[in-house]
Each structure stands twice: as C-alpha cells, then as structure tokens.
C-alpha cells in the first residue's frame, strides 16, 4: 500500500469512518487534480442524492482533503516540529477531550502553531456546512493523524496539494 493510500485510510478511520471506502480514491484524485477532483469537490460536506428518494449525507472526507489542500503550508510546517510533535498530539488529545486535568507540556510557540492549524481547518470545514462541534473534532483529529507519523503526513500533504493554481477549493 502506498503512503497516500495508507494515510488516507488511516485519516478516514478517524475523521469519517463511513467514508473509508472512498478515502484512497479521493486522496489519489486530489493528488492527480484535474476534472475528476473538480467533480469530487462538489460533494464536499454536502448531501448525496440518489435517484430513488434517498438522502445519504457524506462528503466529510472530501471537505477534509480540500481543507488540507488550502492549508498545506501550515500543515507541512507543523510536520517539521520534530520531537515537539509528540507534545502537540498530546495537547490536541487534551483539547479534544476538553480535559482540564494537569498542565500542558507544550511550549507557547508550538501551541500557537497547532491552534492556528486547527483553526484554519475548522474554518474550511465550517465553510462546507459541517457543524461547529464536528468541525472542531475533525480539525484536531486531522492534525493528530498527520502528526503521529510526520514523515508520512508530510508526504501526504505534499501529494494532495493542488497541481494548478486554479485547483484550490
């Protein structure tokens, strides 16, 4: 399994488990850019319509990919934090759990970078109709997944970057 596929599956497991079957195809489409990705992006965060009077809400993973594309620099920088990433992951887990126990062992600069990355992703997800609580959770989980395996995360973020300037969601 290549890094893009593996990271896409791992990311979908955490942020959109129901869309895990589509994650590798969507990540590769994002990496390739072009018309296929343009069509896929239309489904970001929105409802899926069937021809039989059925509604399936999906498109969360597409929204996450678009958010990653639009903030690739922020995420790539975060992946270069080295050993600090362990503390970033711990901090984001505590933020997810809304835990007030204990103190954060993360320095302010790293914390600010992590918060800025989460805020940027959340903003993108909100733009695509994902409700605030879920967007916050997805934003944190996305960074946790990428930061847990930073080398692969960096490759993934680079791979899914838009190939043309007009390919930004």
């Amino acid at each position: 399994m290549d890094i893009v596929t593996e990271t896409a599956v791992h990311l979908a497991e955490h942020v959109a488990p129901e869309e895990i079957d589509l994650a590798p195809a969507l990540a590769h489409a994002a990496a390739a850019g072009g018309a296929e990705w343009d069509v896929a992006k239309v489904g970001a965060g929105g409802p899926v319509l069937g021809g039989i009077g059925l509604e399936v809400v999906g498109g969360i993973f597409i929204a996450v990919l678009v958010a990653i594309q639009n903030h690739a620099d922020l995420l790539a920088n975060l992946c270069t934090l080295g050993d600090t990433l362990v503390r970033v992951v711990r901090y984001l887990h505590r933020r997810l759990d809304r835990s007030t126990d204990g103190t954060d062992d993360i320095d302010n600069a790293a914390k600010e970078r992590a918060d800025a990355a989460v805020a940027a992703l959340v903003e993108e997800l909100l733009k695509r109709g994902i409700e605030a609580d879920r967007a916050e959770k997805i934003g944190c989980l996305t960074i946790i997944v990428l930061a847990e395996r930073p080398a692969q995360g960096r490759v993934f973020v680079d791979a899914v970057q838009p190939k043309r300037s007009d390919d930004r969601g």
């Binding site: 129901e18 079957d21 896929a40 069937g50 039989i52 009077g53 509604e55 999906g58």
Partner: protein
C-alpha cells in the same frame, strides 16, 4: 442455480412496453412520413399569408415530426451501444475496479452483483459521491453496471438499502430495456426535452402572432399620417391643426384591439392547443412506458428484499433541486408518492392490477389528446370540428393497439420468464395467484378495444 441467487420473483411483472411499441411504431411510420410530407409541402407553399405564416407553418411541421423523430433516434441509439458505453464511461469517469483496492464495501458490492447477475461487468467511479449506480449497454447482449462512491457510502450505512439500489438496477438489466432508456439514452433525452421545445415554439408563435399584426397596424398608421400630411399641406393648413387632426398610434391600436381579440387571439390559442395536444399525446405514452420500467424495478427490489422498502419511505431529497430539473427527472423517475403507494401494495393483487393498467390508461389519455388535436385542427382549417367523428377515428385506429396490448397482458404470466431468460439468461417466476390479475387487466383493455370496434 441457487434460489437465493435468483429468486423466483419475476423482474418483469409488467411487460416492457417500449419493446412492444417499436413494431407498432414502425408499422405506423409510413403514415407519419405522409403526414410530415403534407405538412412541409403546405408550410413551404402556404395557401395564405406571407413569410410569417410560412415560418409558423414550418415550426408546426417541425414540431409535428418531433415525436416520431425522438422515437426513431431512440431506436437508432440501440444500434450503437458501444459508442453509448464509451460516451457514458467518459462522462461519468467509469473505469475498471482498481486492483487490490482497500475497500471491503467495494468487494462486497461486486460480489453481490456477480451473485445475482454472473458475468455482468462492473465499472466504478468512487470519487463521485453524489451518485449511486447506473446501468448501460456495452453491446446488444451485454450490460454493464456502473457503481459510484455514493453507493459505497450507502452500503456501509445501510446494507439493505444498498442492496435494494443494486436490485433495482439489476431489474432494469433483466427487463432488457437498457438499450432504449437510462444513462445516455437519446430517447430519454428527447422525451425530457419535448415539453421545453413545445413551450418554446408556443411562446414563439405568440410573439410572432402578436408582433405581426402590431407591425401591420404601425405601417397602416404611418400611411394614414403621411396621407393626412399630404392633404393638409395641399390645403395649406397650419402644422398645429395637422397635429390636432392626427390620431395617436395608441388610440389607433386600441381601435384595432377588438379585431385582434376576435380574429388573431383565437387563432393563436388554437395553434397552441394543436401543438400541445399533439406533443402531449406522444409524450404521455413514452413517459408511461418509462414509468412502468421504474415501478417494475422498484417492485422487484422490494419483493426480493422486503426490508428495502424503508429506503423509498425516506424523505424526498429532490426538494433541493431546481424545478426545471425536477420536471426532467419526472420523465425517468415517477413521483415518489406514487412509487411509495405502489410499493406498499407490491405483494397484493390490487397493486399489480394498478401497475398493469398504467400503460393502457396512458394510451387512453393519448387517444383523448389526439381527439383534442383533431378537433383543434378541424377548427383551424374551418372544417366541421365534430368531436364524435374524431373520437370514432381514433378509437377505431386505437382498437387494434388495445387488442394487442390485451393479448400481451393475457399471455404475459407465461411469457415473462421466457423474456427474462432471453434478455438476461435468468428466469423469473410469476405466482399463479397473480394470473387472474393479468387476465382482469387484459379484459379491461380488451373492453376499450371492443368499444373501438363497436363505434367503428
């Protein structure tokens, strides 16, 4: 074959009317050609009026040939399934399923499809999450199922619903009408666009029909004004007096309005009735035949997987679509309320009877619309617009069609299995408890045929 893989339920509860209609249509084709030749000859050399009258008559003639042209295009489209397949695969980006793709749902979907329809090729477009599945022909005898990302989402959320979607599509495949309808079908495209074309022509007719007399009145008024000026100058009247004598154009036009209301508007309205009734007569039968296919596919899915009924009872998401898209959708997908109603009665006799009578009822509506057309045409050429004679004409000519339809309904319980076997290589079964329903629908249809023969 295992009974679970190929359940006894027939996927062709209702005869595939489009197939039976083609010989009827080809039989009637010389009549259409003769009518079109007459219409075009009259349009190119109109007995009255000028170029505008010619334009209107040409429009009417073009509109008159549209329904048979659409059906011909549909038939012609069946001769190029390979081209249609390539076009659909390009449009929807359908490709062979990727090897070693890490998705349990995709493997399950392919396994399910091959379980129910062994050897059917499957193509996928996993990045399109807004679509579920599609069937299309790749050759005369080979149909392909296209699976989209949306189906995998559904599969994971509600497997029974996902199976129902696939069974619905497989029923289309087993009914053998995929060559004519569904994705990329020129027939469906034509039927969807016919109402829009008719509306455009009717509007154009009204615009031309209103603008033409107004422009004639304008010319008349200008001639009057010029004549008045000439007379006034000859009599050496002052300009103020000339202006006082001149009737304003608006007053002149309002004087003519009575003429317009009595002569022009009824002619325009009659033209609109003629166009709409002719096109609607063709449209209603096409749509009924396509709806029957959908009802059939729904029925097969629910009979095979009763739990699947829940997905048709879900909220209608089409509310988010613009109204013009909904109108187009109506051609290929009957109203959800009607589908739900029929599905609630999928297993009982009344439900099947209603389903079997959809097409004969639509054909009856078609005859009524043709009678309206005939009466309107009689009015427009100032002949005796006898409703009785037109009713006699159409019921007489339609009697044989109703008789043929009745014969098909009568024999269908015995033919359905053979049909499925011929089309898809699998044989469904119709329970004998439904036989009387087929015969009752045949009797009702035959009664209409008999009515035609009696009044002939």
């Amino acid at each position: 074959m295992a009974s679970e893989a190929h359940p006894l339920t027939s996927s062709a509860a209702v005869p595939p009317w489009l197939w039976f209609w083609i010989p009827l249509f080809l039989f009637a084709l010389p009549g259409y050609v003769e009518l079109a030749t007459q219409d075009f000859a009259a349009a190119l050399d109109p007995p009255f009026g000028g170029s505008i009258a010619r334009l209107l008559l040409i429009l009417l003639a073009v509109l008159g040939v549209l329904p048979p042209v659409i059906l011909l295009a549909g038939i012609a489209g069946t001769f190029a399934p390979g081209w249609r397949a390539r076009s659909i695969e390009r449009r929807y980006r359908l490709v062979d399923p990727p090897q070693n793709y890490p998705s349990a749902a995709l493997s399950e979907v392919i396994e399910f499809l091959h379980h129910w329809s062994p050897g059917t090729p499957v193509k996928v477009c996993l990045t399109d999450v807004r679509k579920l599945a599609v069937v299309y022909p790749t050759s005369f005898r080979k149909m392909t199922v296209g699976v989209f990302g949306g189906l995998l989402l559904l599969w994971r959320r509600d497997r029974a619903a996902g199976e129902a979607v696939l069974l619905h599509e497989l029923a289309h495949l087993r009914q053998g009408e995929v060559l004519f309808v569904h994705a990329g079908s020129p027939l469906v495209w034509g039927v969807q666009k016919l109402p829009w074309i008719v509306t455009a022509v009717v509007i154009l007719q009204f615009v031309v029909g209103v603008m033409l007399p107004v422009s004639i009145f304008w010319m008349e008024w200008q001639e009057m004004a010029a004549s008045l000026h000439a007379q006034a100058e000859a009599a050496s009247l002052p300009p103020e007096m000339i202006d006082a004598l001149q009737v304003p154009f608006s007053s002149f036009l309002s004087e003519k309005a009575a003429f317009f209301a009595h002569a022009q508007l009824p002619a325009l309205a009659l033209g609109a009735v003629t166009m709409v009734s002719w096109a609607a007569a063709a449209w209603v039968a096409f749509v009924a035949a396509i709806w029957c296919l959908e009802f059939n596919a729904d029925r097969f899915a629910v009979c095979a997987r009763p739990s699947a009924l829940s997905i048709w009872l879900a909220d209608d998401p089409s509310g988010q679509r613009p109204w013009w898209r909904k109108l187009d959708d109506l051609v290929t997908h009957p109203p959800l309320s009607l589908r739900r109603l029929l599905l609630r009665h999928a297993e009982d006799r009344v439900g099947l009877l209603a389903l079997l009578l959809v097409f004969p009822a639509a054909y009856l509506v078609r005859l009524v619309l043709l009678i309206v057309w005939g009466v309107a045409v009689s009015f427009s050429v100032e002949l005796d617009p006898s409703v009785g004679s037109w009713t006699r004409t159409y019921f007489t000519s339609g009697a044989n069609v109703f008789a043929f339809t009745a014969l098909v309904l009568l024999l269908w319980p015995f033919l359905a299995g053979h049909w499925e076997s011929f089309v898809a290589g699998v044989r469904g079964y119709t329970s004998p408890r439904f036989f009387p329903v087929y015969w009752a629908s045949a009797a009702a249809t035959l009664a209409i045929a008999a009515l035609g023969w009696i009044i002939a």
